[in-house]
């Protein structure tokens, strides 16, 4: 295997907007807000940025076909600016591109930025359409909650776990995230919820109820990446957050056109996680990873992801979730900032928002009430598209 990018690139600054229904703000406003915070944190001037990768998913309501429009809004001075897009992994792709740009030696200081303005689409949930002409003339219906709901029946069947128990674990997932999000001023949804509320909520896509679904919001997040040497020079008195790994796995068609896949655990997540651990030299994630920011677009996704990240045993997510293993005071707190559940999921921003949550914890720059002790390695994970035909990114950030 190639050397990988472990410890070759450091993050010296990050920014993250308040996520929510930002009716007063444009996509440009959000991007500027994230970039300004990020530059302040990095302690550099904008003209020190040598290249930028900007993630945005819904180009039809966003920045258009390239990054030119946002380069203009941000007044990036005739540098290399490229748009990245890969469903829900869009922002992690921006970070990956920036990381590779630095690791290759092509640039020293690079901006990764992700932004999305969902609330101007008018849709409840994610906008429909955009699947191309093929999705109009053939195939089945599908919405975000619907395609993820399809994970539940095969999971129930595979492990012989009754749907009532799955609903209970899913409810715990959402209650836990809301408890975390309630403490975070940048989160969109800031109300704690109860198991009863979750279990009695209206059904959106069987078996997912309203509180099994993440919010829909606007937001942006950004990171400045550089070499560890430059980072040390710029930040002599603080821990240096380094990128330990970023891996991606995309469905091959085995899931949808062959009949071997069980439809419960994701080949993509398991593959991306294994590769990320290998790249980051993590041997036992259950013991070595300290916090998780995963793709809880729907509570069922988070539940299954706990197994696919090789942290809970297969079929064992229920026990871990219900025992509080992933709660804020558990062994590996998950969604310490509130997750997609409370931040909402402005597609092009989420991956960097997750990195921001881990970065804050690594640098211990958060109030005690939501601070996790002794964080050395944190993992972010995005799952984009249909779980049966999608993309998964896993990134591990850490400090020495």
């Amino acid at each position: 295997m190639a050397d990988g990018i472990k410890d070759k690139v450091a993050i010296i600054g990050m920014g993250c907007t308040k996520f929510g229904e930002r009716w007063e703000s444009s996509l440009e406003d959000l991007a500027i807000e994230a970039m300004v915070e990020c530059l302040e944190d990095a302690g550099i001037e904008k003209n020190e940025i040598q290249a930028a990768y900007i993630g945005n998913c819904y180009d039809e309501v966003g920045i258009g076909k390239s990054a030119v429009h946002l380069a203009y809004a941000l007044k990036l001075q005739h540098i290399s600016v490229t748009r990245t897009e890969n469903y829900c992994a869009t922002a992690t792709e921006a970070l990956r591109a920036a990381t590779y740009a630095v690791a290759s030696g092509a640039y020293d200081i690079v901006l990764a930025l992700g932004a999305e303005k969902l609330k101007d689409t008018g849709f409840p949930g994610l906008p429909a359409g955009g699947g191309g002409t093929g999705s109009v003339i053939s195939g089945a219906s599908g919405t975000g909650p619907g395609t993820f709901a399809l994970l539940a029946p095969p999971y129930s069947k595979k492990y012989g776990i009754e749907m009532d128990k799955i609903k209970e674990a899913m409810a715990h997932v959402s209650v836990k995230s809301h408890a975390n999000g309630a403490m975070n001023p940048k989160a969109h949804l800031r109300k704690p919820i109860t198991m009863e509320q979750v279990l009695h909520a209206p059904i959106i896509a069987h078996p997912l109820g309203l509180f099994d679904c993440c919010g829909v919001s606007d937001g942006a997040a950004a990171a400045i990446v550089t070499t560890p040497a430059i980072a040390k020079k710029l930040k002599p008195n603080q821990d240096i957050v380094k990128i330990k790994s970023i891996q991606l796995s995309v469905a091959s068609g085995e899931e949808m056109s062959y009949t071997s896949w069980d439809g419960a655990n994701l080949i993509t997540t398991q593959t991306a996680a294994s590769k990320a651990y290998e790249e980051a030299c993590v041997n036992d994630p259950r013991e070595e990873i300290n916090i998780l920011e995963v793709h809880d677009c729907f509570s069922i996704t988070e539940m299954i992801t706990m197994e696919d990240l090789h942290i809970s045993p297969k079929g064992g997510a229920y026990e871990d979730i219900m025992s509080g293993f992933y709660d804020l005071d558990g062994k590996i707190p998950c969604q310490v900032d509130g997750g997609l559940k409370c931040f909402g999921h402005p597609i092009g921003a989420s991956g960097l928002r997750m990195a921001y949550a881990v970065y804050e914890q690594l640098l211990e720059r958060i109030p005690d009430e939501r601070k996790v002790k002794n964080v050395r390695l944190g993992l972010t994970m995005n799952l984009g598209g249909d779980p049966a035909k999608g993309v998964v990114s896993v990134a591990i950030l850490g400090k020495d």
């Binding site: 053939s138 195939g139 089945a140 399809l150 994970l151 068609g253």
Partner: protein
């Protein structure tokens, strides 16, 4: 010998109790109370004349090699296209060869029998054999009208040929009059008719006796020579009058299924014929009469071959598979009579890239996938590189038909967010018994009918109607079945 070699029928699953229509609409037109008996068969929101004709056609082709079919005649007055051959759309889902002769028979309601006659005479010419005549109608009456409560949706199909004939064609007689008792102009949705008494007395009760007497005279026969007499007329008084004029006894009068289905227009005499053939015995003589801008009368004699007929669904099987549509406004929405709020998801443009559709027409309208010649894995949609990770062969595929395969549900959901005229939108993933996997919308079912492992068959349905460009797109949906017939 030329005649009917096989037949099939189709009645949509949903039935609207006519009392429900009366409750909703008699306030404006109390006369509809006179027609309150029984139920009206209602096409699902994803059905139209083409999908119902295809369903009847597939039923008629049970156990028959579709490659032997040389013609497809579609009869309906409610086809989705005025220009674009509707019968051509049916070719791929029927899985008949591209080299068929195809035609639409439309206009008057006797178009169904005229299509059968054209098929018979084509086969008699020895220039063509095995013509599938498929008919379905989905006619609209204005809300509160007599037509609305009388009409019902259904289809029937017949394979006309010269081998293994189960009902031999013995002769016919036709009359044609521009008797404009009812009509729809080319820009009109709803049927408009003249006074019912005039239609009954000068229409049905004159022309039907005229054409039957014409046929009896032509072939020197008596009405009592027939074991079944089939003629459309939804007016009970009219039927009594006709039966009296011609001496049609109750034993030989074939039910018009008015209380089970309703008047299915072009299809009605064909639906009645398919229903009659289900119980026919060798030697039975069947007289079939249509009505609409005149009449055709056709005379068949059932052969010994009827004993070998395939046990397909037919009209009686379709009638048995029913579910109540207990909501009149749902009917109005399904027929696009009542505008409803579909949310922004319902407003998304269903733009059809016609060149893409053409390139993929066998895949989409015919449900053709591919099977790897190296590892025998069926796959849908058709692939060039085998999806089996152990194989991965390139360009080693052969066409593979999925339309007639059975499968079972491996996962499903009922989605309230997706735009649907019958929420929740039920969809999920199917594994086929002989291999292959695909996601499908489910239709003709409730969420309670679907579980993991539920067996399904596929049905050709409307996928969307792009009203901006007036393009109807079709695809296949999964229908849960109680019992899966074994392949072969």
């Amino acid at each position: 010998m030329v005649g009917i070699c096989s037949f099939g029928g189709y009645v949509p699953r949903y039935r609207l109790n006519r009392g429900t229509i009366v409750q909703s609409m008699a306030w404006i037109n109390p006369i509809i109370m006179a027609h309150a008996q029984g139920e009206k068969a209602v096409a699902n929101f994803d059905e139209d004349a083409i999908t119902m004709a295809v369903a009847a056609g597939i039923d008629a082709l049970q156990g028959i090699d579709p490659a032997s079919v040389e013609g497809v005649y579609l009869a309906s007055t409610t086809m989705p296209y005025k220009e674009r051959l509707n019968a051509a759309i049916a070719v791929a889902p029927l899985n008949v060869p591209d080299q068929v002769r195809a035609a639409d028979f439309s206009g008057g309601l006797k178009a169904g029998t005229t299509a059968i006659l054209a098929a018979i005479e084509g086969v008699e010419s020895k220039n063509i054999n095995n013509i599938l005549v498929a008919s379905a109608d989905c006619r609209l009456g204005r809300p509160g009208s007599t037509q609305e409560i009388i009409f019902g949706d259904a289809g029937a199909a017949f394979l006309i040929g010269d081998t293994d004939v189960i009902a031999e064609f013995k002769g016919s007689y036709s009359v044609t009059y521009d008797f404009a008792d009812h009509m729809r102009g080319s820009d009109t949705r709803f049927d408009r008719q003249w006074e019912e008494r005039w239609i009954r007395d000068l229409g049905y009760a004159d022309f039907i006796p005229e054409v039957i007497n014409g046929l009896l005279d032509k072939y020197q026969m008596k009405i009592s020579d027939f074991s079944k007499v089939i003629y459309p007329c939804n007016n009970r008084g009219g039927r009594k009058k006709i039966n009296g004029k011609l001496g049609i006894s109750p034993e030989i009068e074939q039910s018009n299924l008015q209380t089970e289905i309703g008047d299915s227009g072009t299809s009605l005499p064909l639906v009645m014929l398919a229903n009659a053939l289900e119980d026919a015995n060798p030697g039975d003589r069947i007289l079939v009469v249509s009505y609409g801008s005149g009449c055709d009368a056709l005379f068949f004699e059932v052969t010994e071959q009827i004993k070998n007929r395939k046990n397909n669904r037919g009209i009686s099987g379709s009638l048995a598979n029913k579910a109540a549509l207990d909501n009149y406004t749902k009917y109005l929405v399904w027929r696009n009579i009542l505008p409803v709020e579909t949310g922004m998801r319902g407003e998304v443009s269903d733009f059809t890239a016609l060149s893409t559709l053409w390139r993929r027409q066998k895949e989409i309208n015919g449900m053709w996938g591919s099977r790897c010649k190296k590892c025998n894995t069926p796959q849908y949609p058709p692939q060039r590189i085998c999806a089996n990770p152990e194989c991965g062969s390139v360009d080693q595929m052969e066409p593979y038909a999925f339309a007639d395969k059975t499968g079972h549900v491996i996962t499903y959901t009922g989605d309230m967010l997706a735009s649907s005229f019958d929420p929740p939108s039920i969809y999920g993933r199917i594994d086929f018994q002989d291999g292959g996997r695909c996601n499908f919308d489910f239709t003709d079912c409730d969420l309670e009918d679907v579980k993991t492992g539920t067996p399904v068959t596929l049905s050709f349905r409307k996928k969307y109607h792009d009203r901006t460009r007036d393009i109807v797109g079709y695809f296949w949906k999964a229908v849960p079945v109680k019992e899966v017939k074994k392949n072969g």
